[in-house]
Symmetry: C2
Subunit: 301 residues, 2 copies
Amino acid sequence: MKIGIIGAGSIGLLFAANLSKAFSVTLYTKTSEQAEMINKNGIYLQDGATHSRVSIHALPVSKWTGLEELTIIAVKQYQLHSIIHQITSLECIPHNLLFLQNGMSHLKLLKNIPATNIFVGSIEHGASKINTYSVSHNGKGAINVAPFKGGIEIIKEFGELCAAIDFPITLKDDFYNMLINKLIANAVINPLTAILQIKNGELITNTFYFAAVKKLFLEISFILNLEDPIKRFRDVLRICKKTGHNRSSMLKDLEEGRRTEIDAILGFLIEEAQVQRKTATNIESYYYLIKGKEKDRRGVN
Amino acid sequence: MKIGIIGAGSIGLLFAANLSKAFSVTLYTKTSEQAEMINKNGIYLQDGATHSRVSIHALPVSKWTGLEELTIIAVKQYQLHSIIHQITSLECIPHNLLFLQNGMSHLKLLKNIPATNIFVGSIEHGASKINTYSVSHNGKGAINVAPFKGGIEIIKEFGELCAAIDFPITLKDDFYNMLINKLIANAVINPLTAILQIKNGELITNTFYFAAVKKLFLEISFILNLEDPIKRFRDVLRICKKTGHNRSSMLKDLEEGRRTEIDAILGFLIEEAQVQRKTATNIESYYYLIKGKEKDRRGVN
């Protein structure tokens, strides 16, 4: 099976290095310089104490033709517009696309994409990019995939081959439920840890931070009309505890002067609140604080 | 005129050093060690490029008998309980007390104090304590004083003598209006700058932080039933600009591991909201974030 992977960030590199054990993988990068670096060096994968170097065929994304049986789109939500523009400009209609963005705001962009089957995924692996061709796999987790449009045959076959190389995929039937679970955890943990510059676990161990967590969760629950808020809140706390010693991706993004995923996370909730004519007081304020910190560090408007 | 000053923090030291030019001043400190240090070294006052050393008579506060014609209470709001307990235990009823706390939550404590005349003040000087007996006067500002209970004769006389030594006092007739002005500015500027770890001016120059400022101000305005919100908001912006390069007292308190005045500021507004059965969503969340940061840094419950 030929697999295309668009995006050579931490998740793109992690997928490319693992999937190349069972598939013919082409990794599509933003620039030709990146592709050259990867073709020359391969991908250097650090996995706990194990190090490995994997040869990979890389091309700049402008060369992507959509002819692979499955293309995995592993760019950030805010980089999706140009990819979607490219998809709609392809000569062919791609067969199978799997989108791996955080948050929920990419879903409305996927509705009008011409493709036979569209899937969305939610990644619970921890990974960080070290340089253009090196990635560190910090924590094993699930890869959940659900159909967004079309049939599921290809993703079943893909999942079986992934299981054989110890890179398991879990097939889910309800994409909304799958993505909303991760969104809730991201919406509580990421902004607060990034504003306070603390590790995830401190949100629970510090009783005052915990009070702020509860207030924010209640607002999210109200906007999403959660039917089982107590169970969902326990899920968030479980993730906080499990990742207690980690710095959230949003905190790391700010520390390293990168753009955050706040628009895909709190931005999505603000839009949801507007549609339902609900107030999102805390969510809006935290959104502004993160956008302000982004601006502070990146020096842009 | 004999003047007592209780509290040898930045404001207590600044007042003692200045007032000793016209009055017989006794400075009351928390511990006898502090009093000894001040008796030995005097107060070292740094005022721009000018340095001066002023001899001062200091005693531990346990020795205060309330017999001075005017006693100025310059401790933090959260240190007021023990002072009030001491006042109610005095053999005499003190004549004139002037309270210089930030915020508004001390007012309810002053209602039952046995004293002939009670005044409250609001300080716009910038001052920071360097060590036990040294203070830096960073910015000249107003000292506003208003009667809280009783007559104003003594404070008029005091004010005339202060004017003569270039340490002017402005007499106000409405203590509530006087204190609320400072409370509003403190409630907007202090928590946000302390959470974001930024200078006051960035609240205006960063458009996203400014959006958060507006949201917070609107909540404060709603709770305080402000009649002239636009004018009050302009006052806050004016203070932000004027003190643009300064770090707020709350930010400095957190940086130096000290307790902040958050209870006297946002804590007061939360109580007001509860009395009026109003929601104070942002105010409560910012209160928790500051209390959490206090706990983080001080390692206390």
